[in-house]
Each structure stands twice: as structure tokens, then as C-alpha cells.
């Protein structure tokens, strides 16, 4: 009996200990907000969102690390003025995990979808989970964004998601100093660019005119799809591009195969690539963030990458027209039109609580766009929001990107792989482009394989 009692005490003590340990895991009550009693200063722009004290909005996104800090900083004013708490969670596994979370009934309040294709999937597969955009958001988008941007956030006539940031992909990075030393000028047309490449081959046989890298873990291949898209937009034109995206013409249409061939003329040309890394097959295994780095040690001259490649340069690199690196607009083939390949994230909501609607509306406003531009001190962020004051952008390069995006003569098309069904856009288009380099598959084989996988 003696032993029995002791054992029972031990069991109770153990249970209590465990309970205490579990209780310790609970977040402490947040008492920081109690200090403020009067309406804070500088909150005029936030008055419309009302008092949201004590509420919480969870945000789930693929924006991580350096860019995450800027994102979080851009909500500080909103949190201070409205009292709402924004819980930010960034994940590299975002695309896969978001669907899992929705299916499990554990969706975040707000998600930043990097692809309109993903929005379509969610609307089709989980129509009860996603919430159409509130009126305030729709009104903001009508006044601050062009028609086409609203279209990307709309599925079957219902407007769900407002654009957040924007990417401008039609850039070629180069070293202004190297160009100046060699007496080269930034090419104005596609033919000039090819002529310049040949010139470089002739002038400096130890280097290559182009460098590239498409390795990106699970997403290996996407930088190559951007190349193809940029060329389709230039060689076949925006109308064919739209038909291609909508699958009104097959993926292996001769015009698309021709565009792949044009890209191959650069990226699979042994005389042109892959500066600093070896033969063209190295493009498949070179991390995309490292792709353009040989420019810094004079191993290659040009690297086509989006505006956000700005963040890939090592610390201490000056991005400026007279600095270490800068970018020029990837020229069009006729030298007159100005096709631009763009991309961006879209803000979808999975709950219609007032604080969620308020935050969603805030993100689509000019207030947020300017706030975000101000806190992004390192640069590398632009938006298609026309309420954004270009002067708030951190660098000359961001201003350039923003000007190209806002230029009325620009013909902007959204990244095709982001618009195509997931099985193609985030599937075979990526893997086949990888095979195109790694296995040296032919242009037509690649196009046929992608077409065959279209759902």
C-alpha cells in the first residue's frame, strides 16, 4: 500500500509537471499596446480602417528573408494606428503548403499568391474557402491599377485578389564600366544585341557574352521559361502570346517552337554561354541567383533577369547607371514596340472578418505602396500601383523599372507560366526547359512534351 500511494503521488506530480510545461508554451499576453490612450499622430491615412485593437490577422506568403523584413516593416504603421496585430509567416514551401492548409480547414486569413494560376486552382477546387475581395479593395484597384492587373485577380467574373508588388522581367543586367571600357553601347534592338554578342566573342575570346543559371530547387527551370516568354512576346507578338497562354494555339505551335529556337540561339550557343561556369549544360545546375555573378569578375557581359535580381548581387555592389552593375531593357525585335514581361503577387483572403477586410484593403491602397517603398531602403521592390510616388523608391534602378511598368507605350503581359495550369506552368514547362539544357533535348521535342501534358 505504501508503495502504491507513493506511486500515485508520483503520477500526479508527473502529470502536473507536464501540464505546467505545456502551459509555459502559451504565448504571454501582449501588454505592449496598453500605453497608448490617445489617437496616435500621423494616422490620418489609417482612420478609415477604424479601431481594430485586439484583433489579429495572419498572413502566409512565399516572401522570405531579406524581403520579409521590409514587408513586416511596412505594416508597422497600420498596426500602430489601428491596433491590429499582423502575424507574418513566410515559407519556401508556400505553394504546396497553402493548398494543404486550405484542405485541412486551417487556411491563413491572408495569403499572397505569386501566380494567378494558383488563384484559379483555389477558386476551382475550394470555392468555399476563398472570400471575394471586399468593396473597399475593389474600389482601390479600380482607381490605382490598370484594367489588366484587375483581370489577373479575377476568376469567372468575381474579383478576388488585388495585386501587391510587381516584377518587371524584361531586363538585361550588365556592367556599365565594362561596357564603357570596351566602347560598347547599350543595344536598342534585338539585332543590335546579337551583333554586340558577336562583337564580344570576337573582341575577348576569354569571356562569354552571356551567362545564365536556372537551378532553383523544386522550381528549377523557371528562369528559362521567362526567357521563352520574353521572346514569344517579341517574335510572335502579344496576340499570339495571349492565345498561347489560353491554349487557343497548342504549345508546340511553330511560332512558339521558333521562339524557343531564338532563345537557343543565345543560351545553347557554345560561343555565347555560359560565362564563368562552363558549357551550356551548366545553365541547368547553376543556381539562378548565382547566374549573373560572373559579370562582377568580368567572366561574362550580359545576364537577362528580372528587376528582383537586384537582391542577388553581393553586398557592396553598386547598382547604378555608373556603378558596378545596371540593367537595360531587353530590346524588342522591331525596335519600335515595347513589350514588357511582368509578374507579381496577389492578396487573397480566406476569412471575411472586418480586420481581414481592412488589411486587405490597406494592402491595395496607395498608402501601403508608398509606405512599402519608403521602408524598402535597399531597393528591389516596385508596384504597378499608380498611386505610388516614384520618388519614394529607393534606387534609380527601381525608378527605371517603375517607369517602364507605368509607360503607356509598354505592352505588358503577365508571366505566361504563372497563368498556365499548374501541371504545365509549374510542372512540365519547368522540367522540360531543364531537360532542354541538361539532356540537350531539341526545341520541338520539348514543345511536344509540354503540349502532351496540358490537362
Amino acid at each position: 500500500m505504501q508503495i502504491n500511494t507513493r506511486r500515485r503521488y508520483a503520477a500526479i506530480a508527473g502529470g502536473l509537471g507536464l501540464a505546467l510545461a505545456l502551459a509555459a508554451c502559451q504565448p504571454a499576453d501582449d501588454t505592449a499596446g496598453d500605453g497608448e490612450t490617445t489617437a496616435a499622430e500621423g494616422c490620418e491615412d489609417y482612420a478609415a480602417y477604424g479601431d481594430l485593437a485586439g484583433t489579429e490577422v495572419t498572413v502566409y506568403t512565399s516572401i522570405v528573408e531579406q524581403e520579409q523584413t521590409d514587408q513586416e516593416d511596412s505594416y508597422v504603421e497600420f498596426e500602430r494606428c489601428t491596433g491590429a496585430d499582423i502575424k507574418y509567416e513566410g515559407s519556401r514551401e508556400f505553394e504546396a503548403q497553402l493548398l494543404v492548409r486550405i484542405e485541412a480547414g486551417n487556411a491563413p486569413d491572408i495569403a499572397y499568391l505569386p501566380q494567378p494560376g494558383l488563384l484559379k486552382t483555389i477558386v476551382a477546387d475550394y470555392p468555399d474557402a476563398i472570400v471575394p475581395a471586399p468593396e473597399g479593395t475593389a474600389a482601390n484597384v479600380d482607381s490605382f491599377f490598370s484594367e489588366s492587373w484587375k483581370g489577373y485577380g479575377t476568376v469567372d467574373g468575381t474579383f478576388y485578389a488585388a495585386p501587391l508588388g510587381a516584377n518587371m522581367k524584361s531586363f538585361v543586367w550588365y556592367s556599365p564600366a565594362m561596357f564603357a571600357d570596351a566602347g560598347y553601347e547599350v543595344p536598342e534592338t534585338w539585332d543590335d544585341m546579337i551583333a554586340l554578342s558577336d562583337q564580344i566573342v570576337a573582341d575577348s575570346p576569354d569571356t562569354k557574352p552571356w551567362c545564365a543559371g536556372i537551378e532553383s530547387g523544386d522550381a528549377t527551370g523557371w528562369p528559362a521559361t521567362d526567357w521563352i516568354e520574353d521572346v514569344v512576346l517579341r517574335s510572335a507578338g502579344p496576340d499570339v502570346y495571349d492565345q498561347w497562354v489560353a491554349h487557343e494555339i497548342p504549345f508546340n505551335d511553330p511560332q512558339i517552337v521558333e521562339a524557343i529556337g531564338v532563345v537557343g540561339g543565345i543560351l545553347k550557343n557554345p560561343a555565347y554561354v555560359n560565362g564563368g561556369y562552363g558549357d551550356f549544360k551548366t545553365i541547368a545546375t547553376t543556381p539562378w541567383g548565382d547566374g549573373g555573378l560572373p559579370i562582377l569578375d568580368g567572366q561574362c557581359w550580359m545576364h537577362r533577369a528580372a528587376n528582383f535580381y537586384q537582391n542577388s548581387w553581393p553586398e557592396g555592389t553598386t547598382v547604378a547607371e555608373d556603378g558596378d552593375v545596371f540593367a537595360f531593357y531587353l530590346p524588342s525585335m522591331d525596335g519600335e514596340s515595347k513589350p514588357v514581361l511582368g509578374g507579381g503577387e496577389f492578396v487573397a483572403a480566406f476569412d471575411d472578418r472586418p480586420e481581414v477586410a481592412a488589411f486587405q484593403t490597406f494592402l491595395s491602397s496607395d498608402t501601403w505602396a508608398n509606405e512599402k517603398a519608403r521602408v524598402t531602403e535597399g531597393g528591389g521592390w516596385v508596384s504597378a500601383n499608380n498611386g505610388l510616388d516614384v520618388e519614394n523608391l529607393a534606387t534609380d534602378f527601381d525608378k527605371l523599372a517603375s517607369t517602364v511598368l507605368g509607360d503607356p507605350t509598354s505592352v505588358i503581359r503577365f508571366d505566361a507560366s504563372d497563368l498556365m495550369p499548374g501541371a504545365v506552368g509549374a510542372g512540365t514547362f519547368w522540367t522540360e526547359m531543364t531537360n532542354w539544357f541538361a539532356l540537350d533535348k531539341s526545341d520541338i521535342e520539348v514543345a511536344d512534351a509540354i503540349e502532351a501534358s496540358w490537362p
Binding site: A11, Y277, A284
Partner: protein, 311 residues
């Protein structure tokens, strides 16, 4: 949160109280008390999802339409999945055999030598590294730079020192799969070595002595005494590593992401289910893996029983 804690205390308290009560408790209450929660958890967390996976493998990508065995047909006929199945077969054949043979030879060589402890620790160390960690390490080892540029990868540096050209180990199929397999062997050899070393030491001394008197030594001793004596342990090691190899996912995903024709079934079913959101095909691939593992599990358990009986 508080509710969960209270619930936990109540349930645990109830179980401990019931089980702890002296004598009069019938046997079946004790058995259900201890076994019940585990059986429930298994049924809910293992059996149900398993059946559910088999069920959803018969449906289309989002589970809205019954497609019969179409997903299985795709998994076995489309060329990209045939490569995946081929790779899995290569993995399951090579990894257990290489890891076991290397582990066995090593165990015999260091047995009762002066450096035994250090030598065994060295081989066992990789076991302590996670698969992802090991993959990252080996990715650096395989790193490629052109021959005339400064090398960052160890292996290519060695090639260059030897006057050869550097090469892209992870790019050219089908040999790239072999270079991935090296990583798994590197990790698993320690496990094989430890288990086999223990059972070599368990061989009774009189048997060894008798064999010595009969004039056996060296390779003869190894072939006729050591290997037959530890046969059951060998089989357990082989099948255990084979099961682990079938599920290999981390190495492939970290090192190549399944690109360049290196994907294996476990990686592909993750990719289809979560990357491509093709639940049906993903489930079908998972079932294929499951079916392939069953015979190994059965054999493994039977061998383990034999080992125990011998003891």
C-alpha cells in the same frame, strides 16, 4: 490550449488510477487501458489514412471523378515515371548491398584491433547527420567549375590535381543516380557495421577455436564461419536498409530536386501531390511504394524472429 491540458490530465489520471487500483480489476480492463489508446491512435493515424490513400488513388487529380486504375496505368507507362521506377529499383538494389558489404568487411577488419573504437566511431558518425545535412555536404563535394577556373568542389579539385577535366557529377544521367546513392551508402554503412560487428562478437569462442584447430583462417574463416553465423543479422540489416532506401526522399530532393532524371518514387509522389496538386496520381505512387515495401517488411520481421529464437 487549457482545455487540451485539462483533457490530458483527466485522461492520463483516469488511466493511471484505473490501472493502479489493487487486484480486483479484471485483466481486460488493464489490457484495454494500456493498449486501447495505442490501437485507436494507430487506427486513426495509420490505418485510416492508408485506406484513404488507396481510395483516392482511384480518383482524378482533385478527387472529383472516379477513374479506376488510370493513375496506375500512367505511373507505369509514361516515360518520366518509368525513369522514376527504374531509379528506385537501382537504389533499392545497390544501397543495401553496398552498405552491408562495406559495413561487414569493415567490421571484420577492425574487429579486436587496437583502433577498433576510433575506427568504428568514424564510420558511425555520418549516421548522426540528417539526410538533408549529408546531402548539403555532398553537394559541395560534387560542386562543378570549369577545369581552368578555381574549384570549389572537393571531388573536382582532386580530378584537376590528377590532371583530368572537372565534370558535372549531378547532371549526366544515368550515372548521376549513382553519385546520389553514394550519399545514402555513406550514411547507412555505419548502421550495418554496428549491428554486424555486435553479432560477430556474439559468435561463441569455442566455434572459432574449433575452426582454428581445423586449420581455418583469414578468408576461409570469414566465408565458412563468420558469414554463416551472422546470416540472420545480415538479412535484417539488408532488409532494414532496403526499406529505408525505398523511402529515400531527402537526398534526391536536396541535391537535384528530382531533376536530370534522378527522381525516385517517394520524391515523385510528393511532387505530384503537393507540387502539381495531382492528388490521384500522388496517391497511386504512394500505394506503389507501399506495395513494394510489404514483402520486405514481412521478410524482415520473420528474420528478426529467427534471430531472437537463436538467442
Amino acid at each position: 490550449m487549457l482545455v487540451v491540458i485539462v483533457l490530458f490530465i483527466v485522461v492520463m489520471g483516469a488511466i493511471l488510477f484505473l490501472v493502479d487500483r489493487p487486484k480486483r480489476v479484471p485483466r481486460w480492463v488493464v489490457i484495454t487501458g494500456f493498449l486501447g489508446p495505442a490501437v485507436l491512435a494507430l487506427a486513426f493515424g495509420l490505418v485510416y489514412p492508408g485506406l484513404r490513400t488507396i481510395y483516392s488513388s482511384l480518383f482524378n487529380r482533385n478527387g472529383s471523378e472516379y477513374v479506376g486504375f488510370d493513375n496506375y496505368a500512367r505511373a507505369f507507362t509514361e516515360s518520366q515515371f518509368q525513369i522514376v521506377l527504374r531509379n528506385t529499383a537501382v537504389w533499392v538494389l545497390l544501397v543495401p548491398i553496398l552498405a552491408t558489404v562495406i559495413g561487414l568487411v569493415y567490421a571484420v577488419l577492425v574487429d579486436r584491433t587496437r583502433f577498433e573504437k576510433i575506427a568504428k566511431t568514424l564510420v558511425f558518425l555520418p549516421m548522426a547527420i540528417s539526410m538533408v545535412g549529408a546531402s548539403v555536404i555532398w553537394k559541395f563535394v560534387y560542386e562543378y567549375r570549369p577545369t581552368d577556373r578555381p574549384q570549389t568542389g572537393l571531388l573536382n579539385q582532386i580530378l584537376v590535381w590528377l590532371g583530368m577535366d572537372s565534370r558535372q557529377f549531378l547532371l549526366n544521367q544515368p550515372v548521376n543516380t549513382l553519385f546520389l546513392i553514394v550519399v545514402m551508402v555513406w550514411i547507412q554503412t555505419g548502421f550495418a557495421m554496428t549491428v554486424l560487428s555486435a553479432s560477430i562478437k556474439a559468435i561463441p569462442d569455442d566455434i572459432i577455436e574449433a575452426a582454428r584447430l581445423d586449420g581455418l583462417s583469414g578468408i576461409g574463416m570469414f566465408r565458412h564461419i563468420t558469414v554463416p553465423s551472422i546470416r540472420p543479422a545480415l538479412v535484417v540489416v539488408l532488409t532494414t536498409i532496403a526499406m529505408g532506401t525505398m523511402k529515400v526522399f531527402d537526398i534526391v530532393r536536396t541535391m537535384t530536386g528530382g531533376n536530370f532524371s534522378t527522381s525516385v518514387v517517394a520524391n515523385e509522389f510528393y511532387k505530384q501531390s503537393f507540387g502539381q496538386n495531382d492528388k490521384g496520381l500522388g496517391a497511386a505512387l504512394a500505394v506503389v511504394l507501399f506495395v513494394l515495401v510489404i514483402p520486405l517488411v514481412v521478410y524482415n520481421i520473420r528474420q528478426m524472429r529467427m534471430v531472437e529464437e537463436i538467442r
